[in-house]
């Protein structure tokens, strides 16, 4: 296995990884950015809607334009970007196993920032494996990146922002959306997105779940049912909807494999999508060389991922002496301030509370380790 070396290795070239790479490279550190995909940007390039929030968080700019901006910066800074490269394991205290074009490498880095992102949750029901049943993010990739319609008529499951936004984007792509169903009694995402698809005539059916996906070689229809307040199906409320595509927008979970391998301490936080590696206020995990940023340490949004990336990039560079303490403190305070602003409001406050809780857990874990 050929050996490579760098100061700071970053796994994942999405919003978190790119942002971390920019700050780390600006400090003068040698940065290697690794991504399994042939194209960097993570999921940014399929986000064709304008981001929300405030101006400082790039609100009003479409996701793909944010991706293009970040890429330009990374290239200008001379970051070594390894695309089509899978980080398959952690070796020793601070090395990663990489494989690209059927060759493997061992990359030793003084600091490793894991920004692997998240993956979509699955929902089990009869026929859920039929071709035509897919993640909402998958449908979004197919329409907005490949510019191909995954089907002609779709049903969306889940009324969070992903479900609402992708339902609208399916319509923009020329796919008929027959219905959006939601198990809870009310819509999960922002009213503004729900209103958009409602106005376009898509029925949003709450207190309903999917009973089965039907079809022989691929999806032909779905059977939905009403559910009671304990989410149990109500007999007699079943109905069939013809469709060739069923999109599941039922949340995401963090892709934490490398953090487990590194031996990071974890905690289960349902709000963040599952087991998440604990980290301190510098995004450093319980394992010395390892930092985390973005969905891997709690599924949130691209805007929070970018700020966590900034924070991790600055902190990792500071720990190696590339940024002097005072300057780093100032920069980190700025990133933390932005994170606090992003984690406000009805949805944001809960995330802020759980992030605070994670910091407290981290402090406890480190204390136990010392005694």
């Amino acid at each position: 296995m050929k050996k490579l070396e760098t100061d700071i290795a970053i796994v994942g070239a999405g919003p978190a990884g790119l942002s971390a790479a920019i700050h780390a490279a600006k400090s003068g550190a040698r940065v290697t950015l690794i991504d399994e995909n042939r194209l960097p940007g993570g999921q940014l390039f399929k986000q064709i809607h304008k981001f929300f929030g405030s101006k400082e968080h790039l609100a009003g700019i479409r996701g793909f334009d944010i991706g293009t901006q970040l890429l330009k910066e990374v290239e200008a800074l001379g970051v070594d970007v390894m695309l089509g490269t899978l980080a398959f394991g952690v070796f020793g205290a601070n090395s990663l196993g990489l494989v690209t074009d059927q060759r493997s490498y061992e990359l030793t880095a003084k600091r490793i920032i894991l920004a692997a992102g998240g993956q979509e949750n699955y929902l089990a029901f009869a026929g859920s494996t039929l071709p035509g049943v897919m993640g909402a993010g998958a449908a979004q990739t197919i329409i907005n990146i490949s510019r191909v319609r995954p089907g002609k008529k779709a049903v969306m499951v889940g009324s969070g922002n992903v479900g609402l936004i992708v339902a609208y984007q399916l319509m923009q792509a020329g796919v008929e959306v027959a219905a959006l169903i939601e198990a809870a009694p009310h819509i999960g995402g922002y009213g503004v997105h729900a209103a958009k698809i409602s106005r376009a005539g898509v029925p949003i059916i709450t207190s309903h779940t999917i009973l089965s996906a039907n079809g022989k070689d691929s999806l032909e229809s779905v059977t939905i049912t009403g559910v009671d307040c304990a989410f149990q199906p109500i007999a007699g409320t079943e109905r069939q909807i013809e469709c060739d595509t069923l999109c599941l927008a039922v949340g995401l979970n963090p892709m934490t494999e490398l953090a487990w391998m590194a031996g990071c301490k974890f905690e289960y936080v349902a709000l963040f999508g599952g087991h998440v590696p604990l980290h301190d206020e510098n995004m450093k995990t319980s394992v010395d060389a390892f930092y985390v940023a973005g969905d891997i340490c709690g599924v949130e949004e691209a805007s929070t991922a970018m700020e966590e990336g900034h924070l991790a990039g600055i902190a990792a560079a500071e720990s190696l002496g590339f940024i002097e303490k005072e300057k780093a403190s100032r920069m980190k305070a700025e990133a933390r301030e932005k994170l606090n602003m992003l984690r406000t409001g009805y949805f944001g406050q809960k995330r802020a509370d759980f992030k605070k809780h994670m910091l407290e857990s981290f402090a406890c874990v480190c204390k136990e380790n010392r005694t």
Binding site: E120, I142, V148, P150, G174, M255
Partner: protein
């Protein structure tokens, strides 16, 4: 394009022709790949799965025990539901593998097997 039109699978065209935000102008090179021996039009470098879906093909493999069909589920290389035999190599994730001219793509049965390309 060298193949005969009547052999081509692209009778169903699922490509997006009009879009309010995205450009639908194609600057990529049009190539031909072969799905179970039949010609399918594709754009060079797009995922194999996208080319197949553009032709309305949705079943990519059959499971080992029950022979159930599987297609694209995650489209980002995580779930392995879209694996096919590509140029003789089984278990290729078609959603993250780029289409190249003349590529032979076959429905994979079970674990698949290596074939001479």
């Amino acid at each position: 394009m060298t193949h005969e039109r009547d052999e081509c699978m692209n009778m169903t065209d699922m490509r997006i022709k009009k879009h309010p935000i995205l450009s639908t102008q194609q600057t990529r090179k049009l190539i031909t790949i072969y799905f179970d021996g039949k010609a399918v039009e594709a754009y060079e470098g797009e995922p194999i799965s996208a080319a197949l879906m553009s032709a309305g093909i949705r079943s990519f493999r059959k499971t080992r025990k029950r022979g159930e069909p599987r297609g694209v589920f995650c489209a980002i290389g995580r779930c392995t539901d879209c694996m096919m035999i590509v140029d003789g190599r089984p278990n290729v994730r078609t959603c993250i593998t780029e289409a190249r001219d003349g590529m032979k793509v076959e429905t994979q049965i079970g674990r698949g097997e290596f074939k001479s390309p």
